[in-house]
Subunit: 429 residues, 2 copies
């Protein structure tokens, strides 16, 4: 029976493995392969004197990145990866790789992002790249488990919708039979409608679609959002839940992905609760101390402003008490100072990770806010009517999974955190 390569230790007498030929070296009387699977790398050593001729024959025809099966005896050896090697008595080429490879998996010369994404199937064979996606998997599974343990119901909301969440821009149109439809920008309206349905606490991890024209290292046109909505909760309650989730995820990754973190070279510090909460007014003041293009009241934060505040904060933090006018229509204004609302952003020193608010649950106030944004209430009727028959107070947020992975692992481009990114120019693979 075959073993994962990591499970082949010097204590084992013999082993069968399968994997990809990571490197081939021929030193005259001695050939070496490095064989790689998703758990690690092992050296296969073929002293020409001691290995059957038919194995040497097969070995000569193997190209790098071919898939092979190897059986043989295991020897302890100091200089090889993992302190052991296999001397084969069986070698089979399962699938021979063509040469040359379109992308070098050993990556002696770093490739640019576009070249890497064009051959993502080879790029993701690199142990460092694989580690990113194994951590992303651990992260989403940990989130699911944590939120279920907190009584949140895992929901699925439609991605094909008839109306925009936040008005008419940045939508991808679809031909839905004879009707016009769009890809959903966010599950916002649907998760709120499930508060009207009495579900009380819901979450979804799913795709969101934004037809944004700009092409930056931190935007995607198709991204993954972790969305939450909780009834009888205010913005402070769901900020607490978000904080708990982030700390849980970091803890879970630190505990379960030590090897993957080491592969990427990350010494993961688990953030400490509570994350500081700074009001918008204070945030722009901090930013304006050091940035050139000053932020005025009612401006959104620029990337430069986010960096300046991030540097001053040093870790995760919340920006709270935003001007009502620059937040979506569904954010709840403070009753005693309606120019500000119960909205928040969760920030990493590098960028925004999540955005949320206590929502308006009063039908007439919501209609007023939709109109104030210059939007028509007509296309929102399917949503507005759920506020007329017993909508509870509620709050929630949406967290970008790719940004969470990107900041956790200190990746320079958000495309590093998606297997097959979709951006302004990229639609394949």
């Amino acid at each position: 029976m075959r073993l994962p390569i990591r499970a082949v230790t010097p204590e084992i007498e013999s082993a069968e493995i399968v994997g990809w030929v990571h490197e081939v070296r021929d030193l005259g009387g001695l050939s070496f392969f490095l064989i790689r699977d998703r758990t690690g790398i092992i050296q296969v050593t073929m002293p020409k004197k001691n290995v059957p001729a038919e194995i040497l024959e097969v070995a000569r025809s193997v190209s790098r990145e071919s898939v092979v099966r190897v059986r043989g005896s295991v020897k302890a050896i100091d200089k090889a990866p993992g302190g052991r090697e296999i001397v084969p008595d069986y070698l089979e080429i399962i699938n021979l790789a063509e040469t040359p490879l379109p992308l070098d998996v050993v990556e002696k010369v770093p490739a640019d992002m576009d070249t890497r994404l064009d051959s993502r199937f080879l790029d993701a064979r690199k142990p460092r790249v694989r580690a990113i996606f194994f951590i992303r998997s651990a992260l989403t599974c940990a989130a699911t488990e944590f939120l279920a343990s907190r009584g949140c119901i895992n929901i699925t909301t439609p991605k094909i919708v008839a109306a925009a969440t936040e008005g008419g821009t940045e939508l991808f149109p679809i031909a839905y039979f004879e009707k016009e439809a769009f890809l959903n920008q966010s599950p916002q309206l649907y998760k709120q409608m499930l508060m009207a349905a009495g579900f009380e606490a819901v979450f979804e991890i799913g795709p969101i679609f934004r037809a944004e024209e700009h092409n930056t290292v931190r935007h995607l046109n198709e991204a993954t959002s972790l969305d939450i909505e909780v009834s009888f909760a205010d913005h402070n309650d769901v900020m607490g839940l978000l904080e708990d989730l982030i700390v849980h995820i970091y803890g879970s990754v630190a505990k379960n992905c030590a090897d993957d973190l080491a592969e990427i070279g990350i010494d993961l510090a688990i953030p400490e609760r509570p994350f500081p909460r700074i009001p918008y007014l204070e945030a722009i003041e901090i930013a304006n101390r050091s940035i050139e293009e000053k932020i005025s009241f009612g401006d959104d934060l620029t990337p430069a402003a986010e960096r300046a505040i991030g540097e001053s904060m040093g870790g995760h933090y919340f920006i709270v008490d935003w001007p009502t006018d620059i937040r979506p229509y569904y954010a709840m204004p403070y009753p005693d100072r309606p120019a500000f609302c119960k909205a928040f952003d969760l920030m990493h020193p590098r960028m925004e990770l999540a955005s949320g608010a206590q929502r308006i649950h009063d039908h007439d106030l919501l209609v007023e806010r939709i109109r104030a944004k210059g939007l028509s209430t007509e296309s929102f009727e399917f949503y507005l009517r759920t506020f007329r028959y017993g909508m509870p107070p509620h709050a929630g947020w949406g967290l970008g999974i790719e940004r969470l992975v990107m900041t956790m692992l200190d990746l320079s481009n958000i495309r590093e955190a998606v297997l097959f990114p979709r951006d302004r120019h990229r639609l394949t693979p």
Copy 2:
């Protein structure tokens, strides 16, 4: 602090609850409310003599399905739901519902499916409907946990794609900036490419989109698929994994959702392993014994055939060894009898649940099969090239989450298993 209604037991002296007014009864000297949250129903009893006048005043103005907060003393009482009631000393209307309701939550008169879906937010307040979605949540969370424990990596593949998985039909077109794109029919090609990336075992729970014209009780145009792909595995290995998953999910729902199952009236029998495997040839023979429109070799099974075989099998089973010509191009033919392939369907007596196969991992054979289907290899180049540089043998399947929920809970229409279904005519809410 407020309690979930289920946690209010006769042993508690006083409690605060929030919820929806499920029913209102006024018997002259005595008023009753039934208050409902997602955990249950409690009676609020207001004997006019003993309850403060201001509470009676508020009580008189409450409409059904309004959101209220109630505080009061808890009394044991045999005839009320849960054997207890609250006599209030505080009653607050949090959000008043308009009257009349567009859909009756108590459902004394059953509504038709379209009326229910038009007001899904009210329909889903019915304890029976809520229970379906709480079980669906438990089911997807249990699947995630189980597959992670089996070493499967949780992946996210793009939903916006440039090419059809299985040729050109049944696609929803998208305007992706200046390019033509489509909504993905299945993660098939992407999960296979991740086998080429050396991920070895992956899973995804995500939306799939089919522009099928027909409108039946078991088809959706947007559905949720649980997809798996495993390297160095054949069709038998992944049938084993599928069987294990189904048994795990049934066990987990039986254990964790007893109250929800009772609400729906389901006494859940956990299927027994191994599920019988019957070859396609035998399956059509069984069907032809009892159906009128006979199935010939090379025909797909009709719903009538599926029902006939299902009746004879009595539980979950696999149909294996399908004719190569009626399966997708990527199914692996048996080397010794290439008219048949290593494909299978997982069947519930009522219908097909999952479809899978060992896949072709040889580039040239795959090209041959794509051409034999009359498809052009050109649009598949992004996929085909991953077979030229070390593609391992692999197998996998896709399981329809809605069909799994539908058959588990004996629902008559697949729309019962989706919060906001998308079909030939429905795009809202």
